[in-house]
């Protein structure tokens, strides 16, 4: 599978990542405790069964948590000092991008994960999550890293009846670049913003980064 230059989560002693499929209703779609196998649920708490792309997406999300822990210099000890917003927004971006690569590029669903992908799948894959804003959505599961990467400004655009409110003028960061240079030294919005400015792509200004980051 193409993971676009991201690091695979090889554990220190060569241990494998293990996932357990939960054949039952849960109020979560997946969770990761790092030292024990990740859980991925089959049904939502209301009995609705997740589609296979949603299960795929959740599995990527949990795996991205493990990768994030492993790239921190002291692993878990440093990871727990990272803000919940960064800890959750990073896997949101990775699951969006890798699920899109798989379902659009490999399996051929023409606009999967794009800004006009309206099929009702779990966020972040529907409308590329561009309808997210702090007042209506989860405050930790944000579009922060998606917006650093994409070249789409959602401000005033429409997504299933909701108008985008974030003025996203930033683009062209790569996920592998963020993972290698930025994430490893970022614990909260201040350190993240400084690191983003230190490693910004050509054409992106500090002012544009500040404008984007004020929404999170």
């Amino acid at each position: 599978m193409d993971i676009d230059g991201l690091k695979r989560p090889f554990r220190p002693n060569g241990d494998k990542n293990i996932y357990i499929a939960i054949n039952g209703k849960r109020s979560w779609s997946g969770y990761n405790l790092y030292l024990v196998p990740s859980r991925i649920a089959r049904y939502e708490s209301n009995g609705i069964e997740y589609d296979s792309d949603e299960v795929f997406s959740t599995t990527i999300h949990e795996t991205a948590h493990t990768s994030h822990i492993l790239i921190m210099n002291s692993g878990l000890i440093q990871y727990i000092q990272v803000s919940t917003l960064i800890r959750e927004s990073w896997p949101i971006a990775v699951e969006w991008w890798l699920t899109k690569l798989e379902y659009k590029n490999t399996r051929g669903i023409i606009n999967y994960g794009d800004y006009n992908f309206s099929t009702p799948v779990q966020y972040p894959n529907r409308y590329a999550y561009q309808y997210w804003n702090k007042s209506i959505s989860s405050v930790d599961y944000t579009t922060m890293f998606i917006n650093l990467f994409d070249n789409h400004n959602e401000l005033n655009q429409w997504y299933g009846g909701i108008q985008g409110t974030i003025n996203d003028l930033v683009q062209d960061y790569t996920f592998s670049g963020i993972e290698s240079n930025i994430l490893v030294h970022s614990y909260g919005n201040t350190s993240l913003t400084n690191n983003l400015k230190n490693f910004k792509p050509n054409g992106v200004t500090n002012e544009q980064i500040d404008i984007l980051m004020q929404y999170y």
Binding site: S27, S45, I136, I162
Partner: protein
């Protein structure tokens, strides 16, 4: 010392045990016809009718979309009504004669009532829907979006007919 390390490690684990929101919100779109007339909702994409998404309601009837669920306790989520997604315009007819147009792109229609997306009567605008929120528990929320066609909608369409 070993015990201390164990306790610290356990605390560390617990501190990020919830890496997914352990809660969910279920959304449902509903359309009520209280206009006193029969209505037909006909969605279009690029000039072609999306047949599978046509909705016909006699007066007093209700249409429900399909349930849609998201992680977390949320305020809003995109509308999950089939006549909304993957369409670019909708014609609503009252008694198969009086028409109202709902557009996603800015448009003007001097011969019929029309609503652009910013309108609070547009089927494409979540603000046109009354929001009914029920918190079933701390971990479970239900949100219904309800659009109600009233006699005023009929009269409004009739006035430009």
């Amino acid at each position: 010392m070993k015990e201390k390390v164990k306790v610290y490690f356990l605390l560390s684990l617990l501190s990020f045990s919830s890496c997914e929101d352990m809660s969910s919100t279920t959304f449902l779109g509903i359309v009520n016809n209280e206009s006193g007339h029969s209505i037909k909702i006909i969605p279009y994409k690029e000039g072609k009718i999306k047949e599978s998404a046509i909705v016909i309601l006699i007066n007093g009837e209700q249409y429900q979309g399909t349930y849609y669920s998201e992680r977390g306790i949320l305020g809003d989520s995109p509308l999950n009504l089939e006549f909304i997604y993957d369409t670019d315009s909708i014609i609503v007819t009252f008694d198969d004669t009086i028409k109202a147009f709902h557009y996603t792109e800015f448009n003007e229609n001097p011969y019929n009532r029309f609503y652009n997306r910013e309108s609070d009567r547009s089927l494409y605008n979540i603000k046109s829907y009354e929001k009914d929120i029920k918190d079933l528990s701390k971990k479970e929320r239900k949100v219904n979006y309800v659009y109600t066609f009233s006699i005023d909608d009929y009269l409004d369409a009739l006035s430009v007919h």
